[in-house]
Every structure is written in C-alpha cells, then in structure tokens.
C-alpha cells in the first residue's frame, strides 16, 4: 500500500509539476525573423525606430476566399522610442504576442543611425541580450532601413530567409557583396589595426509584367559599407567590393569581363574558380609597404566576339589581360579605402601580427599613416581551359 501511494505521488509530480516558470508557448509567441533600426526625427526631436518582421505561420499559403487575394505570411510593424532598446520594447505595445527574437537572423541598420550615432550602439544591444546570436548578420542600407522590409520575397516565403539564403548560398558565386556576422564585425570594430566593413542591402523596383500581380519591390545585396571609429564612413561599389574581397582572400568565384586589345567591348569573360591572396609587409627602417600577391585560376566563361581562343599563345595573352584587369579592380578598392582613410583590409593588423615591435611604435599614428601607404599588387592568372568548346562558333 505504501509503495502504491509513493508511486502515485511520484507520477503526479511528474505530470503536474513539469511546468517551467519562464515557459513560453509557441502560440503566444511572435517569432521575429528580422529587425531594422533607424534614426528618425519626430516633431523636431531625434528618436529611434525599430521595426520587426514577424513570421505569421497560420497565414502561409492561405488566401481569402473569393477575393483571390493572398494574405502575406508575414507582418511588419514598427515603434518609436527615445533610444534603441526603448523603441524595441515599444513594439510590444502593438504586438498581441510576446516578441521572440531567438530566431532572428538579420539586423538591418539605416544609414542615418550608422552615420550620425555610430554602429556600436546597435552592437552593444545585440551582445547584451541573450536572444541575439553572434551568428546573426548585420547589414546597412542606404536611406531608411524600414524601406527594405517593404520589399517582398520572391522565392522564399519570408524576406529574412531570402536575404540569409542569398548571403549563405549565392553571393559567393559572384563575389560582389560582402557580409559579416556579428562576431566578426565586432572583432574588426574593436581592432586598432583594422576598420570594419559590413554588407549593404538595397531595395530595387521591379517592373510589372503579364496579368499576374508581381511584387513591385525586391532586395539585392550589393557592395559594402565601410566604418571608421564606429561611424559609417562610406560605401564600396560592386567593383571595389570585389577588389576588397581579393584583398581579404574571400574572392573565390566570380566573373571578370575582359576586353581584348583592339576592341572596346567587354567581349570575353574570365570565369574565376579559385583565388588566393597573400599580403606581405615590407618594413625597412622608416618605410612600410605591402606586396599583395594574388593567384587566380579559372576558365574562359564566354567569348562574345569572333576571336580565336584555341592556341596556347592566345590563352597567355588573355591571362595577361586578366592580370591587368584584376590588378585594377584591387587597386580601386585600395584607393577607395585610402580615400576614406579606413584600413578595411587590416594592413595594420598584419603588421601587428608579424612585427609586434614595429606595430607598437606606429600604432598610435596608424590612422594618419595608412592613406599614404605604398601597396604593390601582383596578380597571376591561370586559365585552365576554354570550357566545352574551343573556338567560338562561326559560319564556315
């Protein structure tokens, strides 16, 4: 009898006492997949606006009967507050469910906040709260970040998913945009010998076609944003970003359009498959300079003119043109960063790691030294083949 009573008590403990104090039921959560943060002026006062992109699971795929209109599977709303955290909390005034951020992937920051206040405000908030992860992506946009959320996803169901998938799966194929997660971004922000760079996202308008109602806006990852002392200093264009990616050894795949001598069209493309970069600091008594060695491999991607590419000498010729082109791409990135006085590649950090003693002497003055630094670029391109055909097709 006693055993049975003990057994019943234990079983009832398991079934009745299993609730947790701080539990959250899925039905009572608003699962946020992306946040945008802007600085706005309301009635002449500087305020902050946080917007959230919330996944609406019940609505995905449903349509209102008869009208033919589909309900969007997401919900976008924003709130304004005196500082960033305040505005984020004010979202709760409009959300019927608890704002659950642990599944958010993206934080998009508006240009004005990044330029005037500095990005460290946002990073502090993200690091301080347990729901955000160091693996989240941080992106900057020209103009207001809320505008990005107005764009609709084209293939995925929700915009945040679309952007993360572009970052993780597709963007490396063209090497024209650069994205970092919070961990890497914070480390470069905190480094004396390197200035931070993060991705840039922009909304692009689509034209309507056919009878079908198409989304009129979509997003695109392009270029990168450069920071100096926590503040947005400028933007890198697509080409400059590609050069920057070469410099940090992240440009692995991509297309380099080339124009053969005697032609003013970009009539041939080098399709890069792999590239490796080495940066060697050269330190003489008072002079510091760098050699950037790039080795790129790939194939001929296409020939859009009637030029023969079948002979080995012709390949060597094309390789030389490609060398020049890639050198120019990299130089454009170096020039831009020296113009912005932001050491985005981390040349300072390279000296720090290789020659800590030299770095100790120059670190205080590095910001002034960097713009006048001599950076030599050597590119070696190897073309392995011409693809499935040799010469372009012709009328014979």
């Amino acid at each position: 009898m006693k055993k049975i009573i003990v057994f019943v008590i234990i079983i009832s403990y398991i079934s009745l006492g299993s609730g947790c104090w701080s539990r959250r039921e899925v039905e009572s959560l608003a699962i946020v997949s992306a946040y945008t943060i802007d600085k706005v002026t309301v009635d002449g006062q500087d305020k902050y606006r946080t917007s959230a992109l919330v996944f609406k699971p019940s609505a995905s795929g449903q349509s209102i009967q008869g009208s033919g209109q589909t309900i969007e599977p997401y919900w976008i709303f924003s709130a304004v507050g005196d500082n960033i955290f305040d505005s984020g909390r004010n979202l709760s005034a409009r959300s019927p469910r608890f704002m659950f951020s642990a599944h958010s992937d993206l934080i998009i920051v508006g240009e004005r906040l990044a330029r005037e206040d500095g990005i460290n405000k946002v990073i502090d908030l993200i690091l301080r709260h347990k729901d955000f992860r160091l693996r989240n992506y941080i992106l900057i946009t020209k103009g207001e970040a809320l505008k990005i959320l107005e764009a609709s996803p084209e293939l995925e169901t929700i915009l945040a998913q679309e952007i993360t998938n572009i970052i993780e799966n597709s963007s490396k194929n063209i090497s024209k945009s650069y994205t970092v997660n919070i961990q890497k971004f914070t480390n470069t922000l905190m480094s004396l010998g390197q200035d931070a760079v993060t991705g840039k996202v922009e909304a692009c308008t689509l034209s309507k076609f056919g009878t079908q109602k198409q989304p009129n806006k979509s997003i695109r990852l392009t270029g990168a944003a450069v920071f100096k002392d926590f503040k947005l200093a400028g933007w890198l264009s697509d080409t400059e970003t590609k050069g920057f990616l070469y410099l940090i050894n992240k440009a692995k795949m991509g297309v380099i359009p080339l124009s053969l001598p005697g032609s003013n069209k970009q009539n041939l493309s080098f399709s890069m498959r792999n590239a490796n970069t080495k940066i060697i600091p050269i330190i003489n008594d008072n002079e510091i300079s760098f050699i950037v060695d790039v080795k790129a491999e790939g194939n001929i991607g296409d020939v859009e003119d009637n030029i023969s590419v079948a002979e080995p000498e012709q390949i060597i010729e094309i390789e030389k043109i490609a060398n020049k082109k890639i050198t120019n791409i990299i130089r454009s990135a170096v020039q831009k960063s020296q113009e912005l006085e932001a050491d985005i590649v981390g040349f300072g950090e390279i000296i720090h790691r290789r020659n800590p003693k030299v770095w100790k002497e120059i670190s205080a003055d590095w910001k002034n030294l960097y713009p006048y630094l001599d950076i030599n670029i050597n590119v070696e391109t190897e073309i392995h083949g011409t693809g499935m055909i040799s010469d372009p097709i012709d009328i014979e």
Binding site: C20, W21, K130, R354
Partner: protein, 364 residues
C-alpha cells in the same frame, strides 16, 4: 569517523575534477582574457601552482590517513591555533559554497530563465545537495561517476563542433606585452585549481590512500587540459577582443558553433553540462562543510548540521553580493588570496611542524 563510507582514490579524483572544472569552464575565458588577451592559453603558472598545492595537501593528508585537517590541526598546533586554522577551513567551505550557489543562480537567471526568481534555483540546488550529503560520501561520488561522463561528452562535443571555426591568427602575436599580464590573468584560475584543498577533508574516506599521490597529479593535468582547451577554442573562435567583454564566453561559443550547417543552437548542452556537475560541486563542498563542522564541535553525527548549513548558505548567497558584478569582483579579487593562504602556507606550515615533531619524538 563520522562517515564510514569508503571510496577509491580514482572516485575521489573524478569528484575533485568535477568540483574544479564545472564552474570554471563557463567563466574562465573572460576572466583570464581580460588581463592576458591573446596569450591566455599560456597556462604555466596555474599548472605549477596546482601541482604545488596538490603535493602539499596530499603529503599532509597522508601523514594522518584516518583524520581530517580539522582534527589533526589541533594535534599539531595545539588547541587554540589549531582550532583557529580549522575554523578558517570551515568558514572557507561555507563561503565557497555560497559563491557557487550564487554563480549558479545568476547564470540560469541571466542566460535561460530571466523571469524566474533567483531564489528558486538556490533552494532547488541546496535541497538536492542536502539530500545527497545526508546519504554520505559514497552516494556523492557515485552520482558523480554517473555525471562525469556526461560532462566530458558534452564538453568535448561543444569543443569538437567549434574546432573548424578556430582562426589561429587570433593568437598572434605571441607574448606581445611580455609574460606579466599572463601571470596576472591566471591568478584567479589558479585559485580555482586550489579548490583541491577539499582533499584535506576527504582523505580519511579513501580506501587506498597510497595511490592518491599519483592520482593528484592526474587531477591537475586533466584540469589544465580542460582549461587550456576551453581558452584555445573560445579565443580562437570568438577572438580575444570580444571574449574579454563576454560574461559567459563558453555559452556564447556554444551558441556560435554549429556542426555542418545542420546541428545548430546546441547551447542546451551547456545547460546540461553546467547544471549536473555544479550540483555535484555544491554537494561536495556542502559535505565538506557539514562534516568538518561536526568534527570541529565534536558532534556524534554530522547529519543534523546539513539543513541548517544549507539554509545559511542560501541566505548568505543572497546577501553576499548585491549584483553580478560584485560577485565577479569577489571571485576575481578576494577569493584568490584567501584560497592561496589555505592551499599553500598553512599546509606547508602544518607539514613542517609535524615532521619536526616526528623527528624529535623518534630521537627521544
């Protein structure tokens, strides 16, 4: 002998490893990286210190195989000084336990359940610990034998998942500012290793004390391996700059690491990895506190002290520090000095006086 239970010296070694590693794993990188930066993995000072403390404690304990330090301190130093030394150790055990309980409740509260009052976690862990302590040392070591593999497996899983993300340039340049910051940073971790002084109370319960000398070296080596791997992975993956700002670097690391894009968000492992061994740790320290307290007052049974000391621990852990930063201050800046005194000079003094006395009596 208040507790007739007997354990093997390997069981004891596992218990001590759990006691030292459980809390340290979570806090270690941030404490040491704040001072030592990229060079935190150079871990010579705690290793040397740990070996010295282990050697002293074991050789002192082996002189009195069936007595704890509370008893033989009296025999060596006389009634008054001996009682004072014993009281120091008892006070330390209770104080250490309050620190651990507070750390535990703060961690769960900040990282997992912000809405649950901290007191809940304190009461739950002390109740569990009190129950285990009442059952004696054999039950404690056996439950640890069950926890220990879980701890090791989960710890290695998190380390393993993070290996591919390690960027070794994060460790360059080596020893940029010399060895000084490294030693300064490793004072607190070294003091955690000195928790090996629990041996001074537990030695009477071992059935083959002679093996303990060898095993105590293993304890230190395993601990140092755990510590160094913890630092290398955290700093290698997250970078020294960021790590120094994090409160729970190992938790952040487990949130960051992912295995082949599929298995993400393994931080629940940290919760398991942390809660079970910390329970063992609280139990072990609570056991030492109760039994040494009973020996100090010459009681016939230590069990009547378990609950009162538990309540004392809960209350003390609330008033110990007003906020988490104060707790960190106590652990970083106050605890090392206290534990150094208990781990090195006092055992050394007792050992020397005992040897001198022995020589005199053998001559006479």
């Amino acid at each position: 002998m208040l507790d007739k239970g007997k354990i093997t010296s390997i069981q004891l070694a596992l218990l001590i490893i759990t006691v030292i590693a459980s809390t340290s794993v979570l806090f270690l990188p941030s404490v040491i990286v704040q001072e030592a930066g990229r060079d935190s993995w150079i871990f010579i000072f705690p290793l040397a210190f740990g070996l010295a403390a282990a050697y002293l404690c074991v050789s002192l304990g082996l002189c009195f195989e069936d007595k704890s330090i509370i008893v033989y301190a009296n025999e060596i130093m006389g009634k008054y000084i001996g009682s004072f030394i014993a009281a120091l150790y008892i006070f330390f055990f209770i104080w250490l336990n309050t620190l651990v309980v507070r750390q535990f409740s703060i961690f769960i509260n900040t990282a997992f359940m912000p809405e649950t009052p901290e007191l809940t976690f304190k009461i739950i862990i002390i109740l569990l610990a009190a129950y285990a302590v009442k059952n004696g040392i054999e039950v404690i070591t056996r439950s640890n034998q069950f926890m220990f593999p879980i701890f090791v497996i989960f710890y290695s899983l998190i380390i393993f998942f993070s290996l591919s993300e390690i960027d070794f340039t994060n460790f360059l340049p080596v020893l940029e500012n010399g060895i000084k910051p490294v030693i300064k940073g490793s004072i607190a971790p070294a003091s955690w290793i000195a928790e090996i002084i629990l041996l001074l109370v537990l030695i009477p319960n071992i059935n083959q004390p002679s093996e303990l000398k060898k095993n105590s070296v293993y304890i230190i080596v395993v601990i140092v391996i755990i510590f160094v791997s913890d630092i290398i992975v955290t700093v290698g993956v997250l970078g020294a700059n960021l790590t120094s700002h994090l409160v729970f670097p190992f938790l952040s690391l487990s949130r960051y690491s992912r295995a082949t894009m599929v298995l993400e968000r393994i931080e629940t492992l940290v919760m398991l990895l942390w809660v079970a061994p910390v329970m063992v740790k609280v139990t072990a320290i609570h056991y030492c506190a109760s039994i040494s307290c009973a020996q100090f007052f010459n009681l016939s049974d230590y069990k009547s002290l378990v609950m009162p000391l538990g309540i004392l621990t809960i209350v003390w852990s609330i008033i110990l520090a007003d906020n988490s930063r104060e707790l960190v201050f106590i652990i970083d800046k106050i605890m090392p000095y206290y534990i150094f005194i208990l781990a090195l000079p006092i055992p050394a003094l007792l050992l020397i006086i005992h040897k001198i006395k022995q020589k005199r009596s053998s001559k006479a």
